[in-house]
């Protein structure tokens, strides 16, 4: 153990002891595990049912705390954009087209077939999870991840060229920013109609129906598009780094 690491560990021990003591004091003041008093929970359930949203978590996320979710959306948008910028091809790097062939014929026939069969099914499941976010567990965030994952079956079961053909990159760019703008627009329309930002201004419909809960399914859809598009674009940059981009003159 070097002297520097030893010094660092002493510092760490003091920090861990301090934070640990604070945690013990803090947790001591919390209601004990399994306590049945949930003031906010009871009110959130009542507010959710009043807006005819069967999935209370979806109602909290996209109706009661929609403003916070917009902040979360913007964090996600900013982080994804920054990561995409960080991973772009630099001046002194080149794309090696030959490396597109990675994967390809190395994939078993059975795996290829399974991937081809499951790709449309997974995309459909993603859309289902997004569309039913106000009725059953799921929603825009979860469904968006399912969509992006489904898209990458093309890479796992095919090769990079197949994924590049399937992946409408410029459309996804527009979809990602458009979905964030749409979220904002839904909020502003609410402000125009009711006087408060992101208020639930769409007719609430019948409890348990696909068209219910007002703005919740709309915002779920927009978030689903944003998450799906951002994730595909992000993974695209990481895959480019791993497969294509090399320093000029460097061998593949």
């Amino acid at each position: 153990m070097t002297a520097r690491l030893a010094g660092r560990l002493v510092l760490l021990a003091a920090g861990v002891a301090g934070v640990g003591a604070l945690l013990v004091v803090g947790f001591g003041a919390l209601p004990s595990f399994g306590d049945v008093q949930h003031g906010y929970g009871v009110r959130a359930v009542a507010a959710s049912l009043a807006h005819r949203a069967a999935n209370t978590v979806g109602s909290v996320t996209f109706d009661q705390r929609a403003f916070d979710t917009m902040g979360e959306e913007l964090i996600m948008f900013a982080a994804a954009t920054s990561a995409v910028m960080l991973l772009r091809r630099m001046r002194d790097e080149e794309e090696q087209q030959a490396r597109h062939d990675y994967g390809g014929e190395d994939v078993f026939g059975a795996l290829r077939l399974t991937g081809a069969a499951f790709l449309p099914i997974t995309l459909l499941v993603g859309c289902y999870v997004i569309a039913h976010g106000h009725l059953s567990p799921g929603g825009g965030f979860q469904g968006g991840v399912v969509l992006a994952t489904g898209m990458h079956l093309a890479y796992l079961a095919g090769d990079y060229r197949v994924l590049e053909r399937l992946r409408p990159s410029s459309l996804l760019d527009i979809a990602e920013s458009g979905a964030v703008a749409g979220f904002l627009a839904v909020g502003l329309i609410g402000m125009g109609l009711t006087g408060s930002f992101l208020d639930n201004w769409v007719p609430l419909g019948t409890f348990g129906d696909l068209l219910s809960a007002g703005t919740v399914p709309i915002l779920n859809g927009l978030v689903g598009i944003e998450v799906g598009a951002a994730l595909v674009l992000l993974v695209a940059r990481f895959l480019d780094q791993a497969l294509l981009i090399r320093q000029e003159g460097e061998d593949a």
Binding site: G20, H38, A54, L86, L87, F141, F238
Partner: protein, 125 residues
Amino acid sequence: MLDAVLAWLPYAVAGWVLLVGCVGIVVSNNYVHAVVCLAVVQSATYLLLLAIGWEPHATAPVFGDISTKARVVDPVVQAMTLTDVVVGATVTALLLALTVQLAKRHGTLDPDEVRSLESDQDDHG
């Protein structure tokens, strides 16, 4: 006695996960490892939030196919956990992107070997 332990055990586990993740970051000699440790630190908050919302004999707060009178766990902390997961995932992606650039510019992933944020090689300044 057992009840008293169980009443605080989930919180203790959350605290332990938080601290063990911090220890991992400090002793880490690889940035990818450090990023994963940060994800461990963050997962302590999922555990804490869900532990606060749990109550016995209650089901998931989704009224698709149960009576609206049914006892459910607290949906507020679940929604916060969702926010937490999303922000955690994007921060992890951003940090890994930084790690990729760092590895390319400095040729190392060891925090101790990175002296400055500037590139080592003159022609990449």
